[in-house]
Subunit: 207 residues, 2 copies
DNA sequence: CTATGTGAATTTATTCACAGCA
DNA sequence: TGCTGTGAATAAATTCACATAG
């Protein structure tokens, strides 16, 4: 099935599979089955197998998948086989939490720079990273940073994104509650916490 | 088209439309068109109209939508017309950021309780909310809290969810990087920041 | 003449059922 | 026999084109 277009939903799920695999490794499991992964992650086994099938034959029939090999394959697909440097813009409450977040490491993602406009914060060290002036964003190009996280207020989000794009970043994760316009070659993923929370009541049964 | 099953994707988008409408209101706009909303939110106009069509005729042909009326309708659909109380469990870096987050208010969501296991934190006030012992989660039932946010480490996330469900909560937003099992009547939405970031490199063009 | 509302066409994604291989 | 890999069937979501109402 190698020659198909890859569904976007498949790409969305691959990091989840990776999470399961990293956990299996931690547990010392050398093998996993699609069923085992599925149970752990709360998805269906055939969904997992179908998703893998777009990229190749990663498993052994009758046996399952070798944890280490499958981990490597998925990392390669997601381009996580090489390390990535990430820049954070906006060291407020959320930004600080992101800086302190340990979870990026297992995916080879390192927050290598942090920026803020507040002169009282600039020069301080948070989570091992020295906060710089936002006007220094342009230095990211030569520092080989290719991903960015935006955690600034809504009204400066677009301006921030523009600066990051100008500095050559190719992917942006934004926590700002607004749509961000970028050139087609740049990928933006938005996490709006309030909007996800606001969706919950719909599912609450009338009492 | 009133009698159809509502696509889940439609429900996912409704709060985004609401965000656009709240912004229009702020700007003092009494009317919006599907095109105007679409431009602002980065979606297509026909998607918006189709989504609305599942619930009724909210607009006026040749004119557009009255901002205030449409806002009310969407709030009603999402059950955001009545206020909701939210409990937060885990007042670490991320939890504190969530407590300080102002964005929930516009959707009628109020963080009315916060819990942690750390005795040094219990009793302290963060973001206007007094931190309580996690063992007090059971009091949420009589306090009319029906939504919860989980911001605890992975290994205690399931236990926390179990406690919240036992306390009668009907919707949970989890920041813990794991699958959470709950009874079918309870809705869980998971935000895994690392996983969203880990998806970005895939889209970065080879250089 | 303008912008909504929607059936129909199309595209995309999920699920199934089983062939294929260790 | 057991679990993967995948075409085919089904389901879901998006997009289109245009009738419709103000």
């Amino acid at each position: 099935m190698r020659y198909h277009k890859i569904p976007d939903e498949t790409i969305r799920r691959l990091p989840i599979y990776l999470r399961g695999l990293l956990f299996s490794s931690e547990q010392g499991q050398e093998r996993v089955s699609s069923q085992g992964l599925a149970d752990f992650l709360g998805v269906s086994p055939w969904q997992i197998r179908k998703d893998f099938s777009y990229f190749g034959d990663f498993g052994t029939r009758g046996v399952g998948y070798k944890t280490e090999k499958l981990t490597k394959e998925i990392k390669k697909i997601l381009k996580l086989d090489a390390a990535h440097k990430v820049a954070l813009v906006g060291v407020g409450n959320l930004g600080s939490a992101v800086l302190a977040h340990a979870g990026f490491r297992s995916y080879g993602l390192e927050i290598a720079a942090a920026f803020d406009t507040d002169s009282k914060k600039i020069g301080k060290k948070v989570g091992g990273v020295i906060i710089e002036d936002v006007r220094k964003i342009s230095t990211l190009r030569r520092r080989k940073v290719d991903l960015g996280i935006i955690a600034v207020p809504r009204d400066t989000a677009q301006k921030t994104a523009d600066a990051l794009v100008k500095a050559g970043l190719k992917g942006i994760l934004s926590f700002s509650p607004c749509h961000i316009t970028v050139p087609a070659k740049v990928k933006v993923i938005t996490i709006d916490i309030a909007i996800d929370l606001a969706r919950l009541p719909y599912y609450v049964p009338a009492s």
